[in-house]
Assembly symmetry: C2
Homo-oligomer: 150 residues x 2
């Protein structure tokens, strides 16, 4: 963990977390949301490899990763508070905040489809999994094409 | 998301994720585990503020964050593959890998206690929550003091 994280962690242990929380600070929000995306990606890529037959399909492993992604996606939205369009390096476009209703709706689709993927993955029908995996990927692309810089 | 993340994400969309996954690469593992810690901390700090009365106790908010932390902690261990003691800047000590049994046990305690915290938090008895929150914090401290540089 970076020094900032450590310092905060130690502060928690000592019962002296920063007044008012650093939560609202743009840099912290940016770091948080990028972290959640990183964790999503870490789990999503091996699923993609299985879906495409690059690695053997492993029902339990796939279901676990799908469950993790479904747990992570609802954590994203609060990583985009107003004012976090700038600060640390970010690929978030300003239209996220000027069109937050659509951004939220797209994020909600990501949550919903990834939750369905977790359910489908637990059942273990690879063809159905492939279809649902593609739907999740579509929600990624739909949001990125409008709200994320290249 | 950083460029690396973006590139990988696009690769997934295009059906061409890197051969053999970047999963095992030390830098990627380090970035992943730091990301999971960041996400844990983001949720843990507001819980700490409530436990200490710095912010009003909000049963639903607390329970949600506790549930998230419980979902995140089991994601940590795979972020410590062999060879990831060096690469990107890391505060992980080399003894993690020379004493991996103890490291894993401590991580398991973190998982177990945070899962219990989620259960206790859903019930909403603040005194019990405080006790269990302290137990989780103890598992953090116990692991950090042995396996993490200052």
């Amino acid at each position: 963990m970076k020094k900032t994280g450590l310092t905060l962690f130690v502060a928690v242990m000592l019962g002296s977390s920063p007044v008012g929380m650093a939560q609202a600070k743009p840099d912290y929000a940016i770091r948080y949301r990028q972290s959640v995306y990183t964790a999503i990606l870490w789990n999503y890529l091996p699923m993609g490899d299985m879906v495409r037959g690059k690695t053997p399909y492993d029902k339990a492993a796939f279901a676990l990763r799908a469950e993790r992604v479904a747990a992570l996606t609802p954590m994203l939205l609060e990583g985009f508070p107003k004012g976090s369009d700038r600060g640390a390096k970010t690929e978030a476009k300003p239209n996220i905040w000027s069109d937050f209703a659509d951004f939220s709706a797209k994020m909600k689709s990501f949550e919903t489809e990834s939750k369905t993927l977790a359910t489908v993955s637990a059942a273990g029908d690879l063809e159905k999994i492939k279809t649902q995996f593609a739907k999740v990927s579509e929600t990624c692309k739909s949001c990125h094409s409008k709200f994320k810089t290249d």
